[in-house]
Symmetry: C2
């Protein structure tokens, strides 16, 4: 469909010539009865209400005040962050609702699709601002958004702060330290690490935080027990199998995110290893599925809803022309201890 179709729809919404009186005549009821239906008031027989509603729909009636579409705040996800999308949207939405803004959802499925890019389409909708949830971001996309002069805030749950773009993240480095210390405190020394993709600064921060904590404790990270890969279940499964089939397999595996950790769960289960008796596993993010696996997963929590709310507040400040108190906000990560970590056997 084309832009002209969309225009046609908007014009269609203004067919205000259809009055309450016309609907009343068509339905064979009084004008006050139609008004009651329109305003959701009681005192109309169910059958009458349905007849009036059917006519209103059929004739495309619109209230006279229904001409100004909502201002929209756009949230853009890459497919990779899909499992985190709802938590983030839950944070953004109440902030936007307070201002009577709609919150729009865009998932970028094919960054290289032909024709008009998703970014151009998004900008053609004239949002009051854009929250971009990205692990990666091409210079072209950045330029296009920045050049539109529509306020942009980056939300980086995987941790890639963009130069010159205000952003919200979490304390990945500290999270890596916390996770490693938890395993050290339990007595683990042969610790495997599955990190996120090396192009992600956030993934590196988690891995290097972990390395620093182990170094500080005098237990150097054994590079033979370190793997990196995409933030997916499948990578966790494949890399977990690699680590767990070694003769010197680790007694604990620290993962770059929860999906990788769920992959390690499956790798362990396929090999007949029990968690936490034979292997401790620790994730990162605290997505809902960490409460649904067996055993419930110990993980480093990113406050995704709070990060979404913070990004939305920053965006509203920018949209109102105000300066930001700070262009980069990092919210604290916290260790959530459940049942996937225990002392080594």
């Amino acid at each position: 469909m084309t832009g002209s179709t969309a225009d046609g729809q908007r014009r269609g919404r203004r067919r205000g010539e259809l009055t309450v009186g016309t609907i009343a005549r068509l339905a064979g009821v009084s004008k006050p009865t139609v008004s009651k239906v329109l305003n959701g008031r009681a005192g109309v027989a169910s059958e009458t209400r349905q007849r009036v509603e059917a006519l209103l729909r059929e004739h495309g009636y619109r209230r006279p005040d229904a001409i100004a579409p909502a201002a929209v705040l756009e949230v853009v996800f890459y497919g990779l962050e899909r499992h985190m999308a709802v938590e983030i949207m839950r944070g953004v939405e109440p902030v936007a609702r307070e201002r009577e803004l709609a919150v729009a959802f865009t998932e970028v499925v094919e960054p290289t699709s032909p024709g008009r890019s998703w970014a151009e389409k998004l900008l053609s909708r004239h949002p009051i601002g854009v929250i971009a949830v990205y692990s990666a971001f091409t210079p072209e996309q950045h330029a296009l958004l920045a050049a539109s002069a529509i306020p942009l805030v980056a939300l980086d749950p995987s941790g890639e702060p963009l130069h010159a773009v205000p952003s919200v993240g979490a304390t990945n480095w500290s999270g890596g330290i916390t996770a490693a210390r938890h395993l050290l405190d339990l007595g683990h020394r042969r610790i495997g690490v599955i990190g996120g993709p090396t192009r992600s600064l956030g993934a590196r921060a988690r891995l290097e935080g972990c390395r620093a904590a182990l170094d500080a404790a005098g237990t150097a990270l054994d590079d033979r027990l370190v793997r990196t890969g995409e933030f997916t279940f499948e990578q966790g499964l494949a890399l977990g199998r690699e680590l767990l089939t070694r003769p010197d397999r680790p007694t604990a595996v620290l993962c770059g995110n929860d999906l990788q950790a769920l992959g390690v769960y499956t790798a362990a289960w396929r090999l007949g290893l029990r968690i936490p008796e034979d292997l401790s596993v620790i994730g990162f993010d605290d997505i809902e599925a960490t409460r649904w696996c067996c055993p419930p997963m110990t993980t480093v929590r990113q406050p995704l809803a709070e990060m979404g709310a913070t990004a939305a507040r920053m965006l509203l400040t920018l949209a109102a022309g105000g300066p930001l108190a700070q262009p980069r906000v990092e919210l604290a990560t916290t260790l959530v201890v459940r049942e996937s970590t225990a002392p080594p056997a």
Copy 2:
């Protein structure tokens, strides 16, 4: 914040007095350079581009064409359906994008919150249409939406078709039959069932489909092995424990949805029962987490993205004033056999 703040923001977006010339003067560059930045074209030094972008943001510059906010298609979820929200949004979004509509996300957290209801707030944003994803729907909410004369399509993944509202669902009854037949074919006869809430017609359809398949096979459903509860992990855990601690515990449990089935996984794991060696489990929905559990779950798939796309197309037809080919569409459910079902020991 109040409506006047939102108005203020919209007015702020029209501060068009700030011209390209002003920005050029403030940045100490030529007008063509500012135009290049605005249009995302190459040929501007990085440092210059950043300075211009900063001025554009600082002064709240808006392109002259950036005055018409997008038309919005609203999707409303109850918190209960949160785990299905992203799959559904992924179906709605491409359909809306073709028409250059924004897709808005609303989660109803407190249906009984004071002040203006979520529904009134939503309607004040004047969407071109609303997709309501509901397991329950109060008569008042229904009346308010219907009376607004904004097109409404119900998407009922848990299966409660609303009278007089066009709706999209899945074949719950057939899904229940398919799940039961799969267990019968494997040789199960002592089959436990955890159904969804009895107020949900869709949940009942799944349960009664299962009962019908068992009856037809001459294996009557034992009512002592039937439980019903909310579509949550917690209910699956509690009711699963009830069934699995009985002296005549079932050899298979058929669940109303995947979250309940994940709860049964945890109940079995806590009792030291292995899936599928000691117990077969079958879910309903095919949410992403069914691939992440151990073992991967056999389930009845609802095509959530396709359901979302269908609802969006119906809504666009209604918004354009057209009649619907049919007011109720049910998409097929399909059995996805993974590793949680096997012959009884």
